[in-house]
Subunit: 200 residues, 2 copies
């Protein structure tokens, strides 16, 4: 591993291992090895596995959530927003395909995690989108839809195909490459589908 600071090396190694094996499946020795350091040194920086995991998980949330929700804040027209969102989601998730399942699993194990050290309201503001949905509906441009159903639908369609990839590939008999193309095509297919659903 190149010469980063030790602390950074630890965080990167820990993130890799935790994401691959989950909190309970990861071993401190494994993390030390991945970081190219001694196990004692690992504990020198982070007293316990719990503490290390927490640091890693918080960092991930702080990096991920803004990425995934910042688009909703912008002032772009609804349709543009949806297209941009699809593109960003697919690009991001192609690079971090294990992320959704990891985050959701650990969040299920300990739902408090999300709360700590994270001012959600500052990162995620849906007021703009909410107004947009209302005003577009009033103008007759789209059918009325609640912000909750809107968010759940779009995020589900973007994220779930990554989390459930092994299942979908098996059930639909799709090879790796074809599935990657399919995901890529969703950059435009999902927005088209979505806009069509919203037509009044």
């Amino acid at each position: 591993m190149k010469e980063l600071g030790t602390e950074k090396k630890i965080i990167i190694a820990a993130r890799n291992i935790f994401i691959r094996k989950g909190m309970s499946g990861a071993r401190m020795q494994e993390i030390a090895d991945e970081a190219g350091i001694n196990k004692a040194l690992l504990h020198y920086y982070y007293r316990s596995k719990e503490q290390l995991f927490s640091a890693v998980f918080q960092e991930i949330l702080i990096q991920i959530l803004p990425q995934l929700f910042s688009i909703f804040k912008s002032d772009l027209p609804l349709e543009v927003k949806i297209y941009q969102l699809a593109e960003r989601y697919v690009d991001f998730l192609q690079e971090h395909p294990e992320m959704p399942l990891f985050v959701l699993s650990e969040l299920q194990r300990d739902p408090q995690q999300l709360f700590e050290n994270l001012e959600l309201s500052k990162v995620i503001n849906l007021d703009n989108l909410k107004d947009q949905l209302i005003s577009e509906a009033e103008k007759g441009n789209i059918r009325p839809i609640s912000i909750e159903q809107f968010m759940i639908n779009i995020v589900s369609m973007m994220v779930f195909p990554f989390a459930a990839r092994p299942m979908f590939q098996r059930v639909l008999s799709i090879e790796d490459e074809a599935y990657a193309e399919l995901l890529e095509s969703r950059k435009t297919e999902v927005p088209k589908f979505f806009m069509s659903a919203l037509r009044p």
Copy 2:
């Protein structure tokens, strides 16, 4: 626990613990306790944790997958199919909310799992639905859509809100009860949304 056969008690206990903690998070002692038996007896019935897990996981897949995919096989009109599906998914997942995340996580850990002992092609047959999508599109009743995109969209919208419940509740500031109602309302909201998206 009531008097079931020991083997059944073990399977039930193991399923509970595995679903709650995952393969690596579960402890054999914990499973024995939950079953109300001795740990040695657990190994008497299932030589290893690996073996017990495999038995449980296979049983779950064999129970779940047909439930989730049988609807697609039927001869009902497309719209009816979609409404029925939404109702069944919500009902099933309200009763087994931890199921999706558990199955997907373990499938990611070991993607081979799905293959063993399971004749997918017999359980899941999408030919009927495929024909339906083509003929309805030819008749001009719906926009053309591939079976793959169709399946991914509908399953994502039905399943993901359960897997990502903790995240959605936090991000959208929804209390437990309200979220349950929201899920219930999706029995009709998702089909409406979906049919609207399919309009030519």
